[in-house]
Symmetry: D2
Subunit: 288 residues, 4 copies
């Protein structure tokens, strides 16, 4: 039964939509803890779009029954929606290649209870030694090497793993392999990548070297959903730091590690708290 | 008639409050443009407190009638509330002493239409020459000098001026005189000061010299409501900038000018857009 | 006679170069106030490169004679160098199109003595009305309209103006015309542009619209030297600010104005204090 | 023999001091890699003060002999100075109480080679379990509990440990016991504390609760040298982050952890790279 629930939804904007949703909850005795909404007036041929996140105390109502009732309501308003239990940790697969700073950071935040995740698997295209500096303990580690010839199989193995473990989210924590289009589509909206540049600057490989060569005075990192368009998916979070002419490309890599790990951790936190809604190629992020 | 209205309110938290407010508006054909709420669970003897801001299109309903109807509703829920017209500029008195950078900045933002204010008066304890670098044009300038012996009169003159001009807000744009307790109470909740430090550090006089002597590595500025407790009123907005050992106290003053003017302008913008609600000695700030 | 001098230089790195330069000054009784150096070890076919800035009190030595003597010394070390008088304001031409926020800001900083510039001319491709909100007073305003057919003449007129006025610097303060290659070469190293994006992201036109459409979470501005490659010149300074999904493209424009004016003012300050040295397509910036 | 050396010094400002130091090195065949200086013109009764840091390649000269020769030179100029080997890791004792995020972070940065430290001991007033989430491996762990009655002994034990291990630096990585005056004096200039507030705001205990109650809009952390005056020692580094009314005191603690660990790590990095010179109650920090 009951801890708080989180309802997220989007639909075409329509009169009284806030009143209807909040009345639906009120009539069932639910008590709103936190609510945010956003009307995207930029519009398009389909008109304005409405986004909402409501965290509420269901006051003893079964979340299954509530969900069933809301389903009818949602259908009538052509909503995309989700009802999540706040106390249920997000089941996460963490993927990593050679650099372990994001992995170490996510694992630490999980161990301290800061991130409400359940790391169901760590996957790497490198052997387990990659993870020795992190306290991964009992988290299953899967070594899934990949070559051009085995990419299809390897991607299938990840999909199987995700299904077996009922993973809610795949986090590319400096995983340096590029998903095929099909794989990106399969994990659409539930795969977050950390790109080590302030996108859209310095897409592709070796962004710190590119940044050094261009002589920028600020570097950054970007957490975004993975799509078939490399480095073009909806951006969830970004952060930056000031650099100077005296910073070598290696200094940028060092400074970048700090930015990357905090940007990725924040994006994962926002996702697991159901604060990120996709709006075409952009995101709506409902911070507390 | 006409343009969007902004409803702000606070009351004791109670079940269904969001639903009731949004339904009240929906039943009268109002269309919500933007809505935010906050439940302050820190509580106190009086229990949790609920804050809300709703911007909506009244769809032809007279704002006077709507206000009258909401008044009854609000009374029933023991609300503190306000219904404002978004298209009505906030009537502002700007007070200044010797440093004009905040005045110049506010006037520029008004002239470009960025700040929806109507500057009904500029008041200074120094003669008009103080304002020569700003394009104050037709804004009435009032020279209200003050000495220990004339402070009471001078403060009365400001109160008269505010009343005659129906001022909604008094902005202390580096006005270096301290309000008496009575004056601070008179303008409670409608007088914003810019303090040239990152409060609560370096209260009182010469904060940049204090910051220099303490050797801090970051300086800042704070916009807050004026209360009888000097530099202790509810904080609306703050910002900071990095400094180094090579910055002299004069450098801090120069860098501080930039921080001060943008912090004050942002606080004024938040206030005139009805985004700042007072919560005891703190503020709730509903950004878009 | 008189005030402090500033020596800036770059040359191939060589043993004892710091000792030689500082001894040269010491032997002539000059007293160093501030000194910075940078050895660019990234190297290239020509080897490492050395950069230095020394501010010093010449202790009564004539700057002309000192310059003549240093000239021989510099030749022997194949230096690019400059000896500037700190108390001589930089002669600046400010160019502007429709948006006046950077112009207003630079003029204000000049009037308050914050920026050590001598604004010898304001040039616009729009009539004088563009500058009415700034306190340009006695600064000569030149209306130089431009059409595809008159671009050559117009650019020649600017060159003449710069020569007549012995301008040290041309500042493109939101001047929306693109220099021809020849013009860019003519003003190489002495023309600063403010680009309203965080380069290299969103080059070209309408960067805020591009930023909005891409859904970035941070926007910025970039001050750079103008070169023939549009938006590709050496970057002097950048700054950024956080935005959210709720910011419209118009909000980005508004927030951007604040970033642009402070980034441009800082770049001009760094230039006029001789703190910016060009290093290929990058800059060395010696902050105090 | 040798890798690069780092010379740091301070003395009364005097004509030609830069030339003399750099010539001293040049005459001995040393090649400067990086050099910074600062003349503190704020002065006091003793006049202006000069600070310098020079990293150089000794070109085969024995650092012992160089130090001996420099010692005479330094005496003649009444210098406080130090000659350090860049390739010799700083011997560090890390002290921790219950919160391990700074410890975990420092250990990780050591393991990846980012921080050039040699962690000779971890000391806690709590048993070893405190460190289970960090990969402390072979680093000796010392449990030194403390009660009012045993404080003197416990402090003596730390002094012994520091001496036995020839520790260069003691890092209070959220060590919640206050050093006695004598202990603070003993470790003067070689003990860094992380305070979980943006000093000088919110000194003393429970700064995040204080920050929450005051309603500030930005929180921060401060790394400083420990002195007998609690939270008043010379500040090395600070950083901040924006918060809102919706952040509870617990949220501030969570956000604060990220700021604390990066501020402390940066302060330790600056210290071990010999970039921090003490200037009375302030610091000179020579960043690259």
């Amino acid at each position: 039964m009951g801890g708080p629930l989180i309802l997220t939804l989007s639909c075409a904007d329509q009169p009284g939509i806030t009143a209807r949703v909040t009345s639906f909850l009120y009539e069932r005795g639910c008590n709103i803890i936190e609510a945010q909404q956003f009307n995207d007036r930029a519009g398009n041929e389909a008109g304005d779009r409405f986004f909402m996140r409501v965290a509420f105390d269901p006051d003893g109502i079964d979340s299954g029954r509530l969900g069933a009732e809301f389903s009818d309501f949602a259908k009538a308003h052509a909503m995309i929606w989700k009802l999540a239990r706040q106390d249920r940790p997000c089941r996460v697969i963490i993927m990593v290649s050679k650099f372990d700073h994001c992995l170490v950071d996510l694992v630490y935040r999980w161990r301290t209870g800061e991130l409400s995740i359940d790391p169901v698997a760590i996957v790497s295209n490198h052997p387990r030694e990659i993870a020795i500096r992190s306290d991964i303990g009992e988290i299953p580690f899967h070594y899934l090497p990949v070559t051009p010839g085995t990419k299809d199989e390897q991607e299938a193995a990840l999909r199987d793993l995700a299904e077996e473990n009922q993973a809610d989210l795949v986090v590319l924590a400096r995983y340096m392999q590029i998903f095929s289009d099909a794989q990106a589509r399969h994990f659409a909206g539930r795969c977050i990548n950390i790109h080590h540049s302030f996108l859209p600057g310095f897409k592709g490989a070796r962004p710190y070297t590119q940044a050094y060569e261009r002589g920028v005075k600020i570097i950054g990192a970007t957490a975004h959903f993975v799509t078939g368009d490399l480095d073009e998916g909806p951006i969830i979070h970004q952060d930056v730091e000031r650099i100077t002419h005296a910073d070598s490309a290696a200094d940028l890599v060092r400074k970048g590690r700090d930015i990357e790990r905090r940007v990725l951790a924040e994006a994962v936190r926002l996702f697991v708290e159901e604060r990120v809604l996709i709006n075409g190629n952009r995101t709506v992020v409902f911070r507390a």
